[in-house]
């Protein structure tokens, strides 16, 4: 544990650093955002939509969901490895995660996709 994490842990009064939570938060935001971006791309580009057809009975949704989950899990593992034993700027990460999540909600809304 480095000096920053010790001082932050003392400030919050918690025995645990916020890094593990921050990693889970940002990864979930990025995974959700990936889902939104892939949804828009699938709607706008027929070639991309065909490429997302990982499992024919389900169609492009299979590729979109599998890729988004893969991005989420890999990002989570990487960020956890980097941050789990230290404190990070949680407020900024929280704002970023909420913005990514809000964008993903917007990107999965068909009238918004049609308006792009």
């Amino acid at each position: 544990m480095n000096a920053t994490s010790t001082s932050n842990a003392a400030k919050t009064g918690s025995a645990k650093t916020n890094g593990a939570g921050a990693a889970a938060t940002l990864a979930a935001g990025l995974g959700s955002f990936t889902l939104g971006i892939l949804t828009v791309a699938g709607d706008k580009f027929p070639a991309f939509r065909s490429a997302m057809n990982f499992y024919r009975p389900t169609g492009p949704l299979s590729g979109v969901s599998i890729l988004a989950i893969t991005v989420w899990i890999i990002t989570w593992l990487l960020l956890h490895a980097l941050w789990s034993h230290r404190d990070v700027a949680m407020k900024r990460i929280a704002i970023a995660a909420f913005l990514l999540l809000a964008a993903s909600l917007l990107f999965t809304f068909p009238p918004f996709i049609d308006a792009i």
Binding site: G21, A28, S62, I69, M90, L101
Partner: protein
């Protein structure tokens, strides 16, 4: 009284996994609020919330996986050329009329994607609360994020659930083996 195997899986997907998840959401948000924003140090409710969030994450995964890989393929099945009765092809049935096409282009296209935000958000919340427990109350930004993600999981599941119920009303997934549940007595 009978039900088809497709109808049974649709019921399990929506009224089983989906509805149970939505029921758990309000309890989880309230309990999360109580654990993280009060001075109560009851470790039993801490453990109960860990279990609740974990079970909700499992329910969310079961809901999206059965929806995407079992029910949705039946919904989007392609009818052989010359088919006039579209009752076994819900997507085609909805798209065949201007009165029902929006159920597909707005309802199903929104539902099929937004639903996937739910397991991501609730798994994050469950993993984070399992890691920190009631100690989460000391991390102010993090506790707000966890509560916010549970709320977004609820919203996305509610959107998917409402559209799912309406779609199943206008174009139910029929077909497969028929299961007879009970026979009525003749009067």
């Amino acid at each position: 009284m009978e039900i088809t195997s497709r109808g049974l899986w649709t019921l399990l997907h929506g009224m089983g996994f989906g509805a149970l998840f939505l029921l758990g959401c309000s309890a989880a948000m309230l309990e999360l609020w109580r654990v993280c924003w009060s001075n109560d140090n009851d470790t039993r409710s801490d453990t109960a919330l860990k279990w609740l969030l974990s079970i909700m994450a499992v329910l969310a995964w079961f809901a999206v996986l059965t929806g995407t890989y079992m029910v949705y393929p039946w919904y989007r099945a392609v009818a052989p050329v010359g088919t006039h009765d579209l009752v076994l092809y819900p997507q085609l049935l909805l798209r065949s009329s201007p009165q029902t096409v929006l159920w597909h282009t707005l309802g199903m296209e929104w539902k099929e994607h937004v639903a996937w935000l739910c397991p991501i958000a609730i798994t994050m919340a469950a993993a984070t609360f399992n890691h920190y427990g009631s100690d989460l109350k000391r991390h102010r930004s993090l506790r707000s994020v966890v509560l916010g993600f549970v709320f977004v999981a609820f919203v996305s599941a509610a959107i998917a659930g409402v559209w799912g119920a309406m779609l199943n009303k206008y174009a139910p997934t029929n077909g497969g083996r028929t299961h007879t549940l009970t026979l009525a007595e003749e009067k």
